[in-house]
C-alpha cells in the first residue's frame, strides 16, 4: 500500500501572551496602551527589555513529530489533554499551519473535528445537510447523490424540514456524523465525535468507519479518549505526549503504554521495563534468582499488567545441578506478608519439570489475574518437593496491578474495595 500521509519533523509553536491574561486574543486598546507605556519608558529611560520579553512565552504544541501513514490504515492517536493530538489533526486538516517541518498528503482529506460544525440552528435538517456537505468540500451533485443515504443513516426522515435547533442532541450528532461519514474522502480525520450519542449509534459509527476503511481502502485517523472504541476500530496507535511522539505501535500496545503513562504520571514504557527484577550480578553458585519479567499471552514483553489480564511471569534462575524433584513458587502478597496467590509447582499443583544445571528460564501463566488495582509484593521461592524445606526464598520486588474497568461501570476495582476480583452476575428472580 502506498504512503498517503508523510509527516516529517512537524512542529507547531504558539506564543502565550501572559499580559493579556485569560483572553486569547488581543485588544487594540492594550496594544495602544502597551505601546504608549513602552514609549514612556523609553523616553524616561526606565526601559527594561526584560519585561517585554517575559510577556510572551513560546509553547510548542508539537515538536519534531514524524510518521507515515499508508493507504487504508486506521490509526488511533492517543494522548493526554494538551498532548498535541488536536494540533496535529488541525495541521493535517489545514486549519492551521505548521511552524516547522513538512506534511505531504495524497488525496482528499476531510475532518470531522466536532459534531455539528457549521450547523446553523435556524436552518432545517435538509438545508443543513447541504450546507455541511459544502463546508466539508462536497459539491451539490455529490450531496444530492448521497442525500437519501445520509438521511437513512441519521434516522431523521421525519424531521428533515424541522430547524435543527429543535433537534435532540442525539439527532444532531447522528446527522452530523452521517454527513461526514458519506463524504468519501480518501482520508478521514475524526476527533472525539463518539463522546456523544447513544451506545447503539456509536457502534453504528464505528462500523461505518471500519467499512469505509476496510472495504473502500480509505485511511482513518482517529482521536478519542475512548480507548475501547479505538481498540475496536484502529490497528495502529500513536501516543503523543507533550507534543512528541512517544510510541507508534499496535493499538493495544500503545493503549497500554498510555495507561501506564496516566497511572505513573511519567512515561515508563521503554522496551526494558517489562523486566521487573534483575539481579544484575552473576549467580553466586547456589540457587539464585536472576531475572523476573512480564510477558503477554502472545509471548511479547509487556510493561505492566491490569486486573483480569492474562499474562506470564518469565523467571530466570540458576540451578547448581540437574534436579527433578525441586519445586518453585511465585507468591503475590500484600505488604504485610499475607499471601494472596501462590503459583507453585508440584506438589502445590500438577506441574512437574526437570531443571538443567545452570540458567533455567521458566514461564508461569496467570489466566485472568483476579487482583484489583494496587501494589503488591512478589516473592519467589524454591523448596524440596518432598519435605517443603526452603532452599531459596526472597521477596523479589514490588508488583503493580493497574486498574481495568472490568465491570464496565467506569469504576475499576482497587485493593481498597476488595482483596480479590472475580466475574459475577446479578439477576432478579421473579416467580
Amino acid at each position: 500500500m502506498s504512503i498517503v500521509i508523510s509527516v516529517e519533523n512537524l512542529g507547531k509553536k504558539y506564543l502565550l501572551h501572559h499580559q493579556s491574561g485569560r483572553q486569547p486574543y488581543v485588544a487594540l486598546r492594550d496594544v495602544l496602551s502597551d505601546g504608549i507605556k513602552k514609549l514612556g519608558r523609553k523616553l524616561t529611560g526606565h526601559g527594561s527589555k526584560r519585561t517585554a520579553v517575559a510577556e510572551k512565552e513560546e509553547f510548542w504544541a508539537l515538536r519534531d513529530v514524524s510518521f507515515e501513514v499508508r493507504q487504508g490504515e486506521r490509526i488511533g492517536i492517543i494522548g493526554r489533554n494538551g498532548a498535541g493530538k488536536s494540533t496535529l489533526l488541525k495541521i493535517l486538516s489545514r486549519i492551521t499551519e505548521p511552524t516547522t517541518g513538512r506534511v505531504r498528503i495524497k488525496g482528499r482529506i476531510a475532518s470531522l473535528l466536532e459534531v455539528g460544525t457549521g450547523f446553523h440552528p435556524e436552518l432545517t435538517g435538509r438545508e443543513n445537510i447541504f450546507l455541511n456537505g459544502a463546508i466539508q468540500g462536497m459539491n451539490r451533485a455529490e450531496i444530492k447523490k448521497k442525500f437519501d443515504e445520509i438521511v437513512d443513516f441519521a434516522e431523521i426522515e421525519k424531521f428533515l424540514d424541522t430547524p435543527v435547533k429543535r433537534y435532540s442532541s442525539g439527532m444532531y450528532v447522528r446527522l452530523a456524523f452521517a454527513v461526514a461519514a458519506h463524504l468519501e474522502p480518501e482520508i478521514l480525520v475524526v476527533d472525539e465525535v463518539l463522546a456523544v450519542g447513544d451506545a447503539q449509534f456509536q457502534k453504528k459509527c464505528l462500523g461505518k468507519m471500519e467499512d469505509v476503511s476496510a472495504k473502500e481502502g480509505r485511511t482513518v485517523l482517529f482521536v478519542s479518549h475512548n480507548l475501547e472504541a479505538m481498540k475496536l476500530l484502529c490497528l495502529r496507535g500513536i501516543l503523543l505526549d507533550k507534543g512528541q511522539r512517544l510510541v507508534d505501535k499496535g493499538i493495544e500496545e500503545t493503549a497500554d503504554c498510555f495507561e501506564a503513562l496516566i497511572q505513573h504520571g511519567v512515561f515508563s514504557c521503554n522496551p526494558s521495563s517489562h523486566v521487573i527484577f534483575s539481579k544484575g550480578q552473576p549467580p553466586d553458585g547456589g540457587f539464585d534468582l536472576l531475572e523476573v519479567s512480564l510477558v503477554g499471552p502472545a509471548g511479547s514483553p509487556i510493561a505492566f499488567v491490569r486486573t483480569f489480564d492474562t499474562f506470564m511471569f518469565k523467571v530466570t534462575f540458576y540451578s547448581p545441578d540437574v534436579y527433578e524433584s525441586k519445586s518453585a513458587s511465585i507468591f503475590i502478597t500484600t505488604f504485610n506478608g499475607r499471601v494472596l496467590l501462590r503459583l507453585g509447582m508440584y506438589p502445590f499443583s500438577s506441574f512437574k519439570m526437570t531443571w538443567k544445571k545452570g540458567i533455567n528460564e521458566v514461564l508461569c501463566q496467570i489466566v485472568k489475574l483476579p487482583l484489583p488495582a494496587g501494589s503488591y509484593l512478589l516473592r519467589f521461592g524454591i523448596c524440596e518437593s518432598q519435605t517443603g524445606e526452603w532452599l531459596f526464598e526472597r521477596d523479589v520486588c514490588h508488583f503493580e496491578v493497574l486498574s481495568n474497568d472490568v465491570y464496565n461501570c467506569g469504576n475499576p476495582p482497587t485493593e481498597r474495595l476488595a482483596a480479590v476480583v472475580s466475574d459475577y452476575a446479578w439477576q432478579l428472580v421473579d416467580d
Partner: protein, 275 residues
C-alpha cells in the same frame, strides 16, 4: 516520489494553490451566502420590513432636516429622490461593511474546525447586502414612478458604479474583518465609522454644495465618488460628475481593495490560532 503527493503543508506555504482552492470551494461561497440570506429572511416579516423601512425612514428625516429646514439645493430634483439615490449605495456599503467585518468572528466555529480559503467568508457575507440592495432598488423605482421622473440611458452605467460600491465595501470589509480577529475591540469601531461616514458622505445633501476648491479633496472619501455616480446615473444631468475627483475615488477604491486583499492574506494563516 515526492511529486506523488497532492498537497504539501509547510510553514509559509499554502499561498501557491490559493486561487485554485477558491475555485474548488466556490460552491461553499454560494452555500454560505445562501445560508445567510435564508437565515436573514427566515423571520421574514421583520427581515424584509427592516430592509425597506430603514432607508425610507432615513430618507424622510434627511429630506426634512436638509431639504425643508436647512433648505439645501436639490438641483431641481425632488429632495426625497436625491436622498434615496444616495441611500441606495450608502445602505449597501454600510450593511456589507458591518456584515463583512463581523463575518470571521461570527463564523469562528467554522474557522477553527474546517479548512477552506478564508476569503470566502467575508465575500459571501456581502451577498446578503446585495439582496437588500435589490429590495431597496425596487422601492426606488416606485419612488421614481411616484414623482414621475424617468431615468435615461445613463442608467446603463449604474452597474459599474454598483461594482465600485461593492469594491469599496469589500476592500474596507477585508481590512476590518482581519483586524477584528486580531484586535477584538475593533468591532466597536465599525458602527462609529458607518455613522460618521453617513455625515461626511453626501447622502443627505448634494456634493455640489461643497465649495469648488475643496471638491477635489472631498473625493478622497471614495463613497463620494460612488454616491455621485449613482445620482448621475439615476437622476441624470442635474448631477454632473466631477470626473477628476471620480478618478481619484476610483483609484483609492482599487488601492483599498488591493491592500485589503494583501492584509487579509497575510493574516489569514493565523486566523485559526487567534480567533
Amino acid at each position: 516520489m515526492s511529486d506523488d503527493f497532492d498537497l504539501v503543508l509547510e510553514p509559509g506555504r499554502g499561498i501557491r494553490l490559493y486561487w485554485r482552492d477558491i475555485w474548488q470551494y466556490r460552491e461553499l461561497f454560494f452555500f454560505l451566502a445562501w445560508r445567510d440570506i435564508l437565515v436573514r429572511y427566515k423571520q421574514t416579516a421583520i427581515g424584509i420590513a427592516w430592509s425597506v423601512l430603514r432607508p425610507l425612514a432615513t430618507m424622510l428625516v434627511f429630506t426634512l432636516v436638509f431639504g425643508k429646514l436647512a433648505k439645501l439645493p436639490s438641483n431641481g430634483v425632488p429632495y426625497p429622490l436625491m436622498v434615496y439615490a444616495a441611500m441606495l449605495p450608502w445602505q449597501f456599503f454600510a450593511n456589507s461593511l458591518s456584515e463583512c467585518s463581523n463575518s470571521l468572528i461570527d463564523n469562528s466555529n467554522l474557522l477553527t474546525k474546517v479548512y477552506f480559503p478564508r476569503l470566502i467568508v467575508p465575500a459571501s457575507s456581502v451577498i446578503v447586502s446585495v439582496v437588500d440592495f435589490g429590495i431597496s432598488a425596487l422601492i426606488f423605482a416606485g419612488l421614481m414612478a411616484w414623482y414621475g421622473v424617468a431615468p435615461d440611458a445613463r442608467m446603463l452605467l449604474l452597474p459599474p458604479f454598483f461594482l465600485m460600491a461593492l469594491m469599496t465595501s469589500f476592500g474596507a470589509g477585508l481590512w476590518l474583518s482581519a483586524l477584528n480577529v486580531q484586535y477584538r475591540d475593533f468591532r466597536y469601531v465599525v458602527p462609529f465609522l458607518v455613522q460618521f461616514g453617513l455625515y461626511i458622505s453626501p447622502v443627505g445633501f448634494s456634493s455640489t454644495i461643497v465649495p469648488e476648491e475643496w471638491r477635489f479633496l472631498y473625493f478622497l472619501n471614495p463613497m463620494v465618488g460612488v454616491i455621485d455616480g449613482f445620482r448621475w446615473a439615476l437622476l441624470g444631468g442635474a448631477f454632473p460628475v466631477h470626473w477628476p475627483g471620480m478618478i481619484v475615488s476610483f483609484l483609492l477604491v482599487v488601492l483599498l481593495l488591493a491592500s485589503g486583499f494583501y492584509y487579509f492574506r497575510r493574516m489569514e494563516r493565523s486566523f485559526a490560532d487567534v480567533v
